[in-house]
């Protein structure tokens, strides 16, 4: 059984990796700094470790999907991230793609549930 769990872990990790990006983009129409984003995502049931999120934010910035700005007015300097115009465009398109994936997969899963006599 532990073998199956291990496989599930691995697959879930892969699945999550792709979806986190969409999750991050979805929250950045308002500027956020890294740790506020961790809690924001966590509150909505998307748990992401800071050690994963921080490098991801930097990568998205480098790809031009996010803009960033240091806020040094507060006691603690923080780097705020915000969707760039490309980022907005990409995010909108990703939402369309995501919905289409969800509906296709739902269709596949439900259909399989209908005829349980597969050779699996």
């Amino acid at each position: 059984m532990s073998d199956a769990n291990e496989q599930i872990d691995k697959l879930m990790q892969e699945l999550r990796r792709g979806t986190i990006t969409i999750g991050v983009l979805s929250q950045l129409s308002e500027p956020q700094y890294g740790y506020s984003l961790v809690s924001l995502l966590g509150d909505n049931g998307v748990d992401v470790e800071p050690g994963t999120l921080y490098p991801l934010l930097r990568r998205l910035e480098k790809q031009g999907l996010l803009d960033s700005k240091w806020d040094t007015n507060e006691a603690r300097p923080r780097k705020y991230y915000l969707l760039s115009s490309t980022g907005k465009e990409v995010y909108d398109q990703l939402c369309v793609e995501w919905r289409s994936i969800v509906s296709s997969l739902n269709h596949l899963i439900d259909e399989k549930g209908g005829k349980e006599n597969g050779d699996d």
Binding site: G34, G51, T52, P55, R76, K79
Partner: protein
Amino acid sequence: MEMIERYIFAVTQGLLQSQREDIAEELRGLIEDMLDERTQGRKATDKDVEEVLMELGNPKLLAQKYRGSKKYLIGPEIFDSYIMVLKIVLISVVSTISVGFIIQIILDPISILDHFIEYIVSFVTVIPTAFGWTTFGFVLGEYFGGVKAKDLQFDKEWSPSDLAPIPDEKRQIKRYEPIVGITFYTLLMVILAFSNEYFGVWVFHDEFSGVVPFLNEETYGSYLFFIILIFGFGIIKECLKLIYGKWTFRLVIYTVIVNLISLVTVVIMINGPEFWNPNFMLELTQAGLLSEGSEAYGTVSKIWEQSTFWIFILLVIGLIWDAIDGFIKIRKSK
């Protein structure tokens, strides 16, 4: 709080110089935010810090995430060293070729055009070769080093107490020091190994008319090995300084050992039979620089006879100073 700085240093060390400061600043903010959440207003203890760092995980892994999984021929982890070594190699090569060129035009100013063409040709052929081999070496390093990076992922056992201290400014060896050293040794080695006949007193009568060499040209070949060995050790010593990057007790011990070996080699060499040019004084007279019996002849002759002894003394002083200097630098930082 020292622990936090150590952690940040460990992460950013594996990143490109240009990103380091920004990432360090952001990480510091993150760790403080995480601490605040954990402590809820009370003062953070060392244990809190440790737990937060444990949550962030192995700094090498975090650095790896920052770097992304791009395929590199030479990755950011060793890129800075690559650029540095490349500079050393290119500076050494260019200065060696240039000194050779200058010597040639002094000796034979008439065919300056030929020498110039040769010079340009050396530039075009030697520099790409040096560049290529250095790069190749680092690509190999990256390739075999890459295996190590993969092992790291299974290295789940990590604890904040493993963090190495941040190097002390005072103990740090300035990077240009070993670079200048290596360049200097390379240059001397090449000159002594391949154009020892020019190592001596240069005689000019209106124009260049020959060299009275210091060394015995007939036995020179058998000493070549020693000469390369001595400078080779010098270069090894400078490389050790580069690798350590700071003065540590171990580095000083290594320097002392290398110095001792070079000293012994030099002593064997200069005391060996017929190392120096046996006809030096005679040739000087023949070249018309000195006349036998004059006061100047006596002085030069004395200097020449005692040179072995004084070279030895100077060398001992220099090498001992090298070691003392290292110890002082360790001391100062404590």
